[in-house]
């Protein structure tokens, strides 16, 4: 059953139409069809978070989403959110706090952290750990990552005060 579906979606603000196999994951579509290799593929069963992308404004597992499911949706990846500057403060804080080593988990970490920063601007350290629990890092460990995210949240909160 080698059926193909024509999927039309918006990726990083650009309309894209491709013929896709139903079995193709969104993460493989982004990486293999569109060359957007910033989001990574690792465990392929929803455990590690390396494939985290944004679908219609919310983070998703790219390996637990089929490309056909994203038909009609707006998808954002680390590439687009870097270009738009949205991830800038987190990227800066990750850099300054040494919150990445090999960098494999970083795109997923950034997308998850960005959803946290925008939906829970008063998150405590404990809440940061809780929210980030679905993203695994195998080298730096989590302390520096939590530090970096906390710094962005604290800086924003200070900036928001009159």
């Amino acid at each position: 059953m080698d059926e193909f579906f024509e999927a039309t979606l918006t990726v990083n603000g650009m309309p894209v139409t491709r013929r896709v196999q139903p079995r193709q994951h969104l993460i493989d579509f982004l990486r293999d069809e569109l060359g957007l290799t910033g989001s990574h593929t690792a465990c392929e069963h929803g455990v590690c978070g390396a494939c985290t992308v944004r679908v219609d404004g919310q983070i998703r597992r790219g390996c637990l989403t089929l490309a056909v499911q994203a038909h009609g949706c707006s998808v954002d990846t680390v590439e687009g959110l870097t270009d738009s500057g949205e991830l800038g403060p987190l990227q800066q804080a990750f850099h300054e706090r040494n919150a990445l080593q090999c960098g494999f988990c970083t795109p997923g970490m950034l997308l998850t952290a960005q959803e946290l920063v925008s939906t829970q601007p008063d998150a405590t350290r404990e809440e940061i750990r809780d929210f980030m629990s679905g993203n695994l890092c195998r080298c730096t460990g989590y302390q520096a990552i939590v530090d970096a995210i906390e710094e962005v949240i604290v800086t924003r909160r200070r900036g928001a005060q009159p």
């Binding site: 059953m1 080698d2 059926e3 579906f5 196999q21 139903p22 079995r23 994951h25 493989d28 392929e44 069963h45 929803g46 978070g49 985290t52 679908v55 919310q58 983070i59 998703r60 597992r61 390996c63 637990l64 989403t65 089929l66 056909v68 499911q69 038909h71 998850t112 959803e115 946290l116 750990r129 809780d130 929210f131 629990s133 679905g134 993203n135």
Partner: protein, 284 residues
């Protein structure tokens, strides 16, 4: 791993979905959020010939108060339930349980209907629905039928759903003024499947627990109602003696299935620990 090959259809109406299920029978799998199904496809534990994606069908994703119950559409995402003020007010057990479901990226996609249909014995919504005495609304070309949650979960990954039926909603009785609830789960890492979990509900009247419901997850093939422990505590204050008697009664209520890391005895012990914690939360 990558999923095997399958066809895909995205019906616009329930009628179209029923026609696809009739045509493909057992070879069809219903897709909602896909957070369990796609993982099982990736691991080649399932090999359907077609996925029937329900997400374009309008009107089955809302959360509404309807008289004495809350109607939660089958396509309501875990995250929507977690953040719903209606749910927090009228079915707080669900608000307490939602954060235990995997991680935010998964809760943004997964649906309550999908979780109930999957009937994973370690999942949160099945145990909550049994505790709440919710009704699962199953719709087929013949119409709707309501199935009590306690009758819905038959065994491991097996439900009372007929092959031509689709879950379209869950109806949860509204919590009364004296209602108390607690949802507790033990996991090795946040977001993992529960080693043991407990959905607990009661009315607290003048310090005494009534209409107590204690439903465990992760201890059997389905959610398990701890009827003996419930009977020991009914009408009682949560004194140390009453709690101890209920914890003892769990030995008859539960016959935990060991997993790779936890023996049956460990799970029984953990179930007792959770019972103590739940009662402290219900009747502080």
């Amino acid at each position: 791993m990558k999923a095997p090959t399958f066809a895909y259809a995205k019906p616009r109406t329930l009628e179209e979905a029923f026609a696809l299920l009739a045509r493909y029978g057992e070879a069809a799998k219903v897709l909602a959020g896909g957070q369990s199904l796609i993982a099982s496809l990736n691991m080649r534990l399932a090999a359907p010939s077609i996925l029937v994606d329900l997400t374009a069908i309008p009107g089955i994703d809302g959360i509404q108060l309807r008289g004495d119950h809350l109607a939660i559409g089958a396509l309501a995402r875990h995250r929507a339930i977690e953040r719903s003020e209606l749910v927090a007010r009228h079915a707080p057990l669900l608000s307490q349980a939602a954060p235990h479901i995997a991680h935010v990226a998964i809760r943004n996609a997964g649906t309550i209907g999908g979780s109930l249909a999957m009937a994973d014995p370690a999942a949160e919504w099945p145990a909550c629905c049994v505790a709440l005495q919710a009704r699962i609304v199953a719709t087929s070309p013949k119409g709707e039928r309501r199935i009590a949650a306690a009758q819905f979960f038959k065994s491991l990954f097996t439900t009372a759903l007929a092959p031509d039926e689709i879950i379209t909603a869950v109806e949860v009785p509204v919590a009364g003024a004296n209602a108390r609830s607690a949802f507790l789960e033990l996991v090795r890492r946040r977001g993992d499947y529960a080693i043991v979990g407990l959905a607990a509900l009661a009315q607290l009247e003048r310090g005494a627990l009534t209409r107590l419901r204690l439903v465990y997850l992760g201890v059997g093939d389905t959610p398990v109602v701890a009827a003996g422990a419930m009977a020991k505590l009914e009408g009682q204050r949560a004194t140390p003696e009453a709690i101890a008697a209920a914890q003892t009664a769990l030995e008859q209520d539960l016959d935990p299935v060991p997993d790779l890391y936890h023996s049956a005895a460990t799970k029984l012990h953990l179930a007792r620990v959770l019972l103590g914690r739940a009662l402290a939360a219900l009747a502080p």
